[in-house]
């Protein structure tokens, strides 16, 4: 097992955002995390990365308890995360940003990473990662950075949001490539076509991963039950019924 969350609890402002979270990610797999807005998917991802602390429970990565490690220490062990809304940086160029991910890579590898996300290196390498780039462009650069980093576990928070429909298939191709280079991938997504590339899928409801199965089966439950649940306020009993 690459990563395991045991009884994870995340609280904020007196509210339980993630509770009773138990989830496993196998080495080498692409794992989709699906669920309606507010189900706690991103919060769980941030907890794995160390951005949000667990109030209780633990996270084990490659047999090591990493619950209390900093973001940097987790990254050095091979975990990274691509944000749904990547940060803007004043005065830092695309090239400088990409080099952080892997400072040993050659210039050609940096260019290749940009090519992989369909950004022309000559046009982008020296550009500032700030206001002048669109959300979609920053998102692609974020994915290029993951490609270069070759992490053991790449957490991609909605890599398909803010990207046009035609480019979704480029992103899917890139995720497969990242996976083929040895990274396990945890994708947070709402899109079925994105979830379908996963080996396994987990459905989250009201802060809890309630089922892990094939993407087809999980998508069906998501489609058939969560949508109607979303029309009402979801309550704990729905979660229990679905589970």
């Amino acid at each position: 097992m690459l990563l395991e969350i045991k009884d994870g609890l995340v609280e904020a402002d007196g509210r339980r955002i993630v509770q009773f979270a138990n989830m496993k990610i196998r080495k080498g797999e692409v794992h989709a995390l699906v669920g309606i807005n507010g189900a706690g998917k991103s919060t769980l991802a941030y907890a794995i990365m160390g951005i949000i602390p667990l109030s209780s429970g633990k996270i084990v990565f490659k047999g090591e308890d990493i619950t209390h490690l900093s973001i940097s220490e987790r990254a050095k062990r091979g975990i990274t995360l691509a944000w749904q809304e990547p940060a803007r940086f004043e005065g830092i160029t695309v090239e400088e940003y990409l080099r952080i991910s892997n400072r040993y890579e050659s210039d050609d590898a940096i260019k290749e990473a940009l090519d992989m996300v369909s950004l022309y290196p000559k046009k982008y390498l020296k550009r500032e990662l700030g206001e002048s780039l669109s959300g979609g462009e920053r998102k692609r650069i974020e994915l290029a950075s993951i490609y270069l980093m070759r992490p053991e576990l790449a957490i991609l928070d909605e890599p398909d949001s803010g990207i046009d429909m035609l480019s979704i298939y480029d992103v899917i191709g890139l995720i497969k490539t990242i996976n083929s280079r040895g990274s396990s991938v945890l994708i947070i997504t709402h899109r079925e076509e994105m979830a379908e590339i996963a080996d396994r899928s987990t459905l989250m409801c009201a802060g809890t991963p309630i089922i892990t199965d094939t993407p087809v089966k999980v998508s069906r439950i998501f489609r058939d039950r969560c949508k109607s649940c979303d029309e009402h306020d979801y309550k704990e009993k729905n979660r229990e019924e679905c589970g």
Partner: protein
Amino acid sequence: MDMKDIYMKEYEMLVKAYEEAGEDATPFKDANFATLAVNGDKVLASKGTEGIEMEAHTREDGVIEAHIKVKPGAKIKYPVHVCFGMLPKEGVQHVISYIDVGDGAEVELVSHCFFPNAVRVEHISEGYITVGKNAKFIYGEEHFHSDSGGVIVKPFAKVHVLEGGEFTNTFTMKHGRMGELYIEYEADLEKDAKATMLTKVYGKGDDIVNGKEIIRLNGERSTGIIKTRVALRDNATSEVINITEGNAPYSRGHVDCTEILLDNARATSIPQISATHPKAKVTHEAAIGSVDKKQLQTLMARGLDEDKAIDMIVQGLLK
């Protein structure tokens, strides 16, 4: 040894020290560049080129008075380099510059303020600048200080940009501790004139960074931007006052100040905008705070330690 030899020796020492600081001293050796070099209160070299006249001398009161005149229409190919240096540990340097960029002329002037050994040095700089009609003047002031924090810098500039003229000013701290900075720039713009003022400073220890920059948009369609980037750590303090006045129709002004605070540093930012014409538009944005959390987390998620990530964000802001 006569005075000429002494000055030459001092000039060589200044250039050598500049190179030892890791900077490119080519402009001070190459005849293609117009240069002015001052050490303390001595004018060591003053050399114009085609289209530009430079003259500097030490007045009886010890103040350096420099006159730089760019002929109308002259496009000066290479930047003009001015070195205001002081190699001794202590002293006061007071420079008054009169800069006249003729109509249609274009010139870039880089002022290297070089105090590598300073323990207690005060540098006072007064600039009276006229940018002619449709002329373009880029002024960059770069500071190289010792790490003692014992430098007091007081730059003052009064700029008049005539119709269609462009003035760009950049103040940057390139090396060492800032010490104390009391910057005061003001620019009056006529019709279709443009001005950009950019200040980037990193204050450490007990450094003081105080600035007051004013752009008056007096002419129709004149535009001005004041941009300030300050990073402070330890016990450094700053007070930044940026003022833009829209006094003419279709004049556009913007004030943009960002300050990052670390440790026990303190900052005050006062963006002040006013308009005396209904068709003028002036805007402002100001932010003071610690390093942006998301930026920090992003860099840490790529494996940078927190300190290195903070440093990269701060250096980016000041770049």
